[in-house]
Symmetry: C2
Subunit: 363 residues, 2 copies
């Protein structure tokens, strides 16, 4: 497909600024871009056996073409492997490869690979350079930008991690052609989230083009991915360490995470976030923050893209437990992201009763 | 001893700036200082059983006196426990204590406690606030300032870690009264290092007062600790992430680390650094960077303080191995910190042959 225009989005973070490159069939330009963005001579390509089989060869060829030494490190990319044990294995592999502070770690894969390789590179020798090459739509528009890295503990997800910005994010849209449809849709949930909290023009664009977009029509897709990366980059640039603004990205995530957890992580994150966004929008309307029309437009866009919007019918008590409201903390507030209108959201501290009213699911 | 003046040294790092408080018998002021420097309501006091027995009670009393909730977490503080397993135990204890992003971790102990608690606080929930309360001289003037945290892997020391600046460093010189003499001297090795690389006036001061200082005479000691903290703070403020200037703090460490490793870590770090500094100064003179007189003054000060200065007689090949010069890398340079004169040092890339000439130990 090699025809799409190559574009770049800047993530502005003073000395930690970097570019997100968006293109298609652009493997051969990756090597030169690494030379431009790091002073490394050696690259450790961390990937899963499955992803590696698909893309390692053109990636390594591109890197070797500009004289970079490459070393491959395979690691399973299931979420249940995203733990400290896998990170220890990466440390061992880094040492085995004699990695030093000038060695760069390249994560080739989805969010699990990026999170683990990112955390290992954040902490090995107190931090070495890092490049994200996301191969899922979700990782492209969300996880690969912003420097969040981390792993799960048995007590919960993403409980351990670091902020460690990459030196470069490299997106090859061609990789999406091999991505299962459900995973593509999971990415669109975050794309729609970026639009609904930040950019009503982009939301309107999505309303027009969503059917072509989810079919991965190259021109439509590349414009949408680019704008979604821009939004993420803007938010992150203004609030690197999630002190305020960046919390808006949690829109739909309070209930989304609860659904994920209650479903024992069998549902995809993006699908849970889609449901969580509809719920958050409905609560926003019920509490007087948003109009019924805004809720309708959001639900409609998600449903047309093929994403779910109906809450699974677990008891209210289970939802409360899942969002961490135990008996002791019943009085304390939840930072809940409410929709104000299409393109605008804000964080408000709400009592659990306002997030999950007694009437919950009793309609 | 409650008489010494309370002073503070600022570590200037933009939004991550913090104060190092230096006093004696100053536990009761710690609680108010925490209220001033964090917005936390809950403090997790991480310490070893031994240190805890000595100081936990007055520390907790001070914290509770200002309404802070305290939770104690005991962890062994031997260097062989400074590993990922201990950090995992800390994560478990943090979760057990329901620590969130507003909870502060307080490390009460020497460098091992500070490094581990610091790394756990750097990575738990991608970073929570952290306070250093060093109880060894080495930790006071060196490890507690500058944000280096980390643990050992079985392949080597401090291979994993983060830069995570504390919100506050609290020094109570009274704690040194219970410190074994050898540990006090280990701290003086770093104090002398700070002076010799950075401040000839302070070096001259040490030449005059060293005997009183190593006897922990309160007034002499508090001035010396303060100046040593200032030097560390200055260097760190100018180079937070060890890109250049901060490498000067490695003076004496190339050979010092080799001695530690060859001695299977039975010698104290500070003692190895003392020997390494004399060696580095001698090489500096031999290579024309420093005068013989400077070498003499450094050796004399270290010896008068009671620190060793003679290289253990391992074969040259063992030293080369220990500093990581294997056959493949024989051609590459070592970043070696040379002394230029008392109060001034610089980093130069030297061939292994210049660091460890063939004539090594054949005198």
């Amino acid at each position: 497909m090699n025809t799409a225009v190559h574009s770049r989005v800047r993530v502005s973070l003073a000395s930690r600024s970097y570019d997100v490159h968006i293109g298609s069939g652009n493997w051969e330009k990756l090597g030169p871009a690494i030379i431009e963005s790091t002073r490394s001579e050696k690259v450790l390509v961390v990937t899963s056996p499955e992803i590696g089989r698909l893309y390692r060869r053109p990636v390594v060829k591109s890197l070797q073409g500009v004289g970079l030494k490459c070393k491959r490190i395979d690691i399973p990319d299931r979420d249940r492997n995203k733990n400290l044990r896998s990170v220890s294995r990466l440390y061992d592999a880094f040492l085995e490869a004699e990695a030093d502070r000038s060695t760069v770690v390249l994560a080739l894969g989805g969010g699990v690979i990026g999170d683990m390789a990112g955390f290992a590179s954040a902490t090995y020798l107190r931090g070495i350079p890092f490049i994200q090459v996301p191969t899922t739509l979700l990782a492209m528009v969300d996880a690969s930008i912003g420097g969040k890295t981390g792993v799960n503990l048995r007590q919960g997800k993403n409980l351990v991690g670091s902020f460690h910005q990459p030196n470069l994010v490299w997106i090859n849209l061609e990789t999406l052609q091999s991505l299962p449809r459900a995973q593509v849709l999971a990415g669109f949930a975050e794309i729609i989230k970026h639009a609904v909290i930040w950019d009503r023009t982009h939301f309107r664009e999505l309303e027009k083009t969503i059917l072509n977009a989810v079919d991965l029509e190259p021109k439509v897709l590349s414009g949408i991915v680019r704008r979604s990366c821009e939004i993420k980059a803007e938010v992150v640039s203004k609030d690197e360490n999630e002190q305020g603004l960046r919390m808006l990205l949690n829109f739909g995530h309070t209930i989304g995470h609860a659904i994920e957890s209650l479903g024992k992580y069998k549902l995809l994150h993006g699908h849970c976030v889609a449901i969580g966004m509809v719920y958050a929008a409905e609560r926003s309307a019920a509490l007087g923050y948003a109009s019924a029309k805004a809720v309708h437009r959001l639900r409609d866009l998600l449903e047309r893209s093929g994403l779910p919007s109906e809450l699974p019918r677990y008891p209210r008590r289970s939802y409360l437990d899942a969002i961490g409201v135990d008996k002791k903390r019943r009085g304390s507030k939840i930072n809940f992201v409410v929709l104000e209108r299409i393109g605008k959201a804000k964080t408000v501290p709400l009592s659990p009763m306002k997030v999950l009213p007694q009437s919950f699911l009793k309609r």
